[in-house]
């Protein structure tokens, strides 16, 4: 019997697990995929939003601003990449100035610091490649960029180090309330008992909700498509460049990623299928067309990949984070943007709700720090040599585009909650994320995974679950 069972190992579930692992609770995270961060948390804009977008007084506004304040410190403690690069929201027409001012005022009301409206010329001074059409811009210095996989993995690994259990490749099928007031969660692998359930299932949160609650809820997937460009052109902009939001989302943004690529997107299209993370010709054309409004000569010939993510849009357009009418069943649903930014704040909020159900006794030996996979390419030559002396596998480069060594790949597989798929290795090490998109390194990476898992090279998966249950067991 667990105290708390969290359904979904996205950023919401993993951040919650880490927060709850500070207390003397038995916590388990259940995830249908073979790895953490396989849902929306892996495919988004990766912006740590400043917090001027959400309606003042909403949960979104509150948790966004709080999350934005927490992430810089967490990035150091938990060793994930973050940079506060600042954002510009552009308007192309003098007539839109009142909208920009409204946005600024909303930001101030939400508690965002340092907001400033600048002229088009000033904006172009700050960001020389901006379009000549830019009339005004709202400058938000506290906006940042983060590596969403690393952040999610960091929460998960730290939670794991503090005793949280992760059951991966295990899917919730139904949930029953027992006469004792606890829950029996039926999965494709068996029955799990728990006192409290947190529903953090992303676009599937309505399904999980419906297994327990009578109250109707729908989550509509709203797809956002992106183009990612080579690091060679990552310096095209240094700030995150938004366009004034419309009713259908934040418009198309152009931003450097924290790893130095250039990202343009997303679109916003409601779709039916909760699995449909494909990209479309139409969507990518829209990205190109709208992106070009903001920044001159976007180098679309340097695109290295396209991808899409699904926003989990709820009925209220606010985050719904509450204990439902069924005692002990907590929803964390409708976690659309800025869910990534808000995750650590959502985790605290969830902790407080759990605290009304179960006693929260802090652990004395909570481990607050976590180290990620070494980034060999960032070490000094002396440090590199020291590492190679200790472990010669660091002297062998597997991914030539991102300079990732065999040592890093082995670490990504061996570490707690380690990678079992090519995508898993990629998210932990960046091997295969560069301009050749794994053409060169995948045979070698596949061989390393196969050897570690004791399977044939041909059986190594790109993502998803192994039939024999290989990989993904991470019992504390």
């Amino acid at each position: 019997m667990y105290d708390v069972l969290i359904i979904g190992a996205g950023v919401t579930g993993c951040a919650a697990a880490r927060e709850l692992s500070k207390y003397q609770l038995s916590v388990c995270v259940l995830e249908k995929e073979s790895d953490v961060c396989e849902g929306t948390s892996k495919a988004n804009s990766a912006i740590v939003h400043a917090g001027f977008d959400a309606v003042t007084g909403s949960l979104k506004a509150k948790l966004n601003v709080r999350g934005n304040q927490m992430i810089p410190e967490l990035s150091k403690l938990l060793d994930f990449d973050f940079a506060m690069n600042g954002a510009l929201v552009l308007c192309f027409d003098k007539e839109q100035l009142p909208q920009l001012e409204e946005l600024k005022q909303r930001g101030i009301d939400n508690g965002v610091k340092g907001l400033e409206i600048v002229s088009g010329d000033k904006a172009r001074e700050m960001e020389p490649e901006l379009s000549d059409e830019v009339a005004y811009a709202l400058y938000a210095p506290t906006s940042g960029i983060v590596c969403p996989f690393e952040m999610t993995l960091a929460f998960a690994e730290n939670a794991y180090a503090n005793g949280a259990e992760f059951r991966l490749s295990e899917k919730v099928i139904s949930i029953e309330k027992t006469p004792e007031g606890t829950f029996g969660v039926k999965t494709d692998k068996g029955l799990i008992e728990t006192k409290v359930v947190i529903n953090a299932a992303g676009v599937y949160a309505d399904k999980i909700h419906g297994m327990v609650s009578e109250r109707p809820m729908t989550i509509t997937p709203r797809r956002g498509e992106y183009l990612l460009m080579d690091r060679e052109v990552g310096g095209k902009v240094s700030h995150t460049v938004f366009q004034l939001p419309t009713r259908m989302g934040k418009g198309i943004l152009v931003t450097p990623t924290v790893h130095g690529n250039l990202l343009v997107g997303p679109t916003a299209d409601n779709i039916e299928d909760k699995e449909d993370t494909s990209t479309t010709r139409k969507g990518l054309e829209e990205v190109r067309a709208k992106g070009a409004l903001s920044v001159k000569d976007l180098p679309f010939n340097k695109v290295i990949t396209s991808f899409s993510g699904l926003r989990a849009v709820g009925d209220t357009h606010d985050f719904i984070i509450e204990e439902t009418e069924v005692p002990g069943f907590i929803d964390a649903v409708g976690i659309e943007s800025p869910g990534l930014t808000s995750a650590p704040a959502i985790a605290e909020y969830l902790r407080d709700i759990v605290g009304t159900i179960l006693p929260l006794e802090p652990k004395e030996n909570f481990i607050s720090e976590r180290r990620g996979v070494v980034r060999f390419s960032r070490l000094s030559p002396e440090e590199q040599n020291e590492l190679i002396r200790r472990e010669p596998a660091y002297g062998s480069i597997v991914c030539r585009c991102e300079t990732v060594t065999e040592g890093e790949i082995l670490d990504s597989i061996d570490r707690p909650l380690g990678a079992t798929t090519l995508d898993g290795v990629k998210r932990r090490t960046r091997a295969g994320m560069g301009r050749c998109q794994a053409g060169f390194c995948s045979p070698r990476t596949m061989a390393l995974i196969a050897e570690k898992l004791g399977i044939g090279i041909g059986e190594v998966r790109k993502n998803g679950c192994y039939e024999n249950g290989k990989g993904g067991e991470g019992d504390a």
């Binding site: 969507g283 990518l284 290295i304 396209s306 590199q384 040599n385 010669p392 062998s396 998109q437």
Partner: protein, 418 residues
């Protein structure tokens, strides 16, 4: 700091030929750095035959061809360090390498030959929308999986692009028991060699769909199929022509790109048309003492031409180390004219030409019954008639030194119809 007269980056056919030539010119202190565990480069995974018809007058497999050069490297006692990747070269010709045995090390080079080969154009660069499942590989990656790792990536295959690797893999996958449903090519002509179309597709009844492309990729975790559509004269897919092909593997053979990250990092000027360095008659780049040859310079179709070109680069590098730079002559600048995509070299200094100079280029489309013509200052320097010129075959024009003497300024290379 270790010091070498000549550092060769890459131990493929280009690197080996350059090293051998430099040694034969009497240069002692030469080294090859190769990141793989053995010499041979891309040839190690090309187990089909068809290599060496020009050089050895016989048909060898890729590994056999490479072996002949590797034996020569050994016979001449040229040192090479495998498992050693060059990370950086600066404009002072200091070369930083990494290996499990020696760690990170910077060495000094009197001259450098860049011979890093090329890489395949990945899916992202092709802008194919759809899912990103397992089962989409570049043809070369699949070739490595099949021929080196012994893993056949799938049972039913569609190949996008009719480059030589794609054609060779169409046959390889068929021989391994897979069904190759189609080779789909955007252009109205194939980018592969004619002999490969005959021997790899026609002999196995594999359809080649010209002026078609893949417009959608289906299957979330594993590839389930692709939609193929016809394209119009501007290469835009024509709505309503989509056809679904069920398949578990999509191979991409849509072009090769010279691997020039290192060259860029040391400031070598790159020609956007080839993706390789801009070089002079000695195959020297814009950085003094840094030479380039083989697929890193421009993508070749025949390894024989790689070897020949690279021997010239090796010899020129040896000469540079021994005699320093010979400058001062009149420069002829080569201009690609009608029907010519690029030329290698870009400039010729006649005083540095020993007996002849090779001018290599590709044509921009298919030309029938036309001539390659070179003119300089209004007078014709060279003319050669051809029944057919195709983009998939690199052209090689050899011009004797006498023909060039006294010339200067621009020399245009163009294709003229009859």
């Amino acid at each position: 700091m270790r010091e070498f007269d000549l550092v060769i980056v890459g131990g493929g056919p280009a690197g080996m030929a350059a090293a051998i030539a430099a040694r034969e010119k009497g240069l002692e202190n030469v080294v090859i750095f190769e990141r793989d565990h053995s010499l041979g480069g891309i040839l190690n995974q090309c187990i089909h035959n068809g290599f060496g018809l020009h050089t050895f007058k016989e048909e060898l497999t890729g590994p056999e061809y490479a072996y002949r050069y590797a034996v020569k490297v050994d016979e001449l006692g040229i040192p090479y360090e495998t498992g050693t990747m060059v990370l950086d070269i600066n404009d002072k010709r200091e070369v930083t390498i990494i290996s499990p045995g020696r760690g990170v090390e910077t060495v000094k080079a009197g001259a450098v030959v860049l011979a890093m080969g090329c890489r395949e154009r990945p899916r992202g660069a092709l802008n194919i929308p759809g899912f990103r499942p397992k089962g989409v590989y570049t043809a070369g990656t699949a070739q490595k999986l099949v021929n080196i790792e012994g893993v056949v990536p799938g049972r039913s295959v569609v190949i996008l692009g009719s480059g030589d690797i794609g054609l060779i893999m169409a046959r390889r996958m068929t021989l391994e028991g897979a069904k190759v449903k189609a080779v789909v090519e955007l252009m109205p002509y194939s980018s592969g060699l004619k002999r490969n179309i005959v021997q790899c597709l026609e002999d196995y009844d594999i359809p080649l769909m010209l002026s078609h492309t893949v417009v959608d990729i289906r299957g979330k975790d594993k590839l389930e199929g692709v939609y193929v559509a016809a394209v119009d004269s501007k290469n835009v897919p024509i709505e309503g022509t989509e056809e679904y092909f069920e398949c578990d593997t999509l191979l991409l053979s849509c072009g090769l790109l010279p691997e020039n990250e290192l060259s860029r990092s040391c400031g070598v000027v790159i020609d956007p048309r080839t993706g390789g360095a801009v070089v002079n008659e000695s195959l020297e780049t814009s950085i003094e003492g840094v030479f380039a040859c083989g697929n890193v310079l421009h993508v070749h179709d025949l390894v024989d031409f790689v070897s020949e070109e690279s021997a010239r680069a090796g010899a020129a590098a040896a000469d540079f180390v021994k005699n320093g730079r010979r400058t001062g002559g009149e420069q002829i600048k080569l201009i690609p004219g009608n029907g010519v995509r690029y030329t290698v070299p870009g400039t010729v200094d006649v005083t540095n030409v020993e007996q002849e100079v090779h001018i290599r280029f590709r044509v921009t489309g298919v030309f029938r019954n036309s001539s390659i013509v070179m003119t300089c200052g209004g007078s014709e320097v060279f003319r050669r008639r051809s029944r057919i010129l195709v983009p998939s075959e690199m052209q090689d024009v050899v011009i004797k030194k006498e023909k060039l003497e006294g010339l200067s300024g621009e020399m245009t290379v163009e294709i003229r119809g009859e």
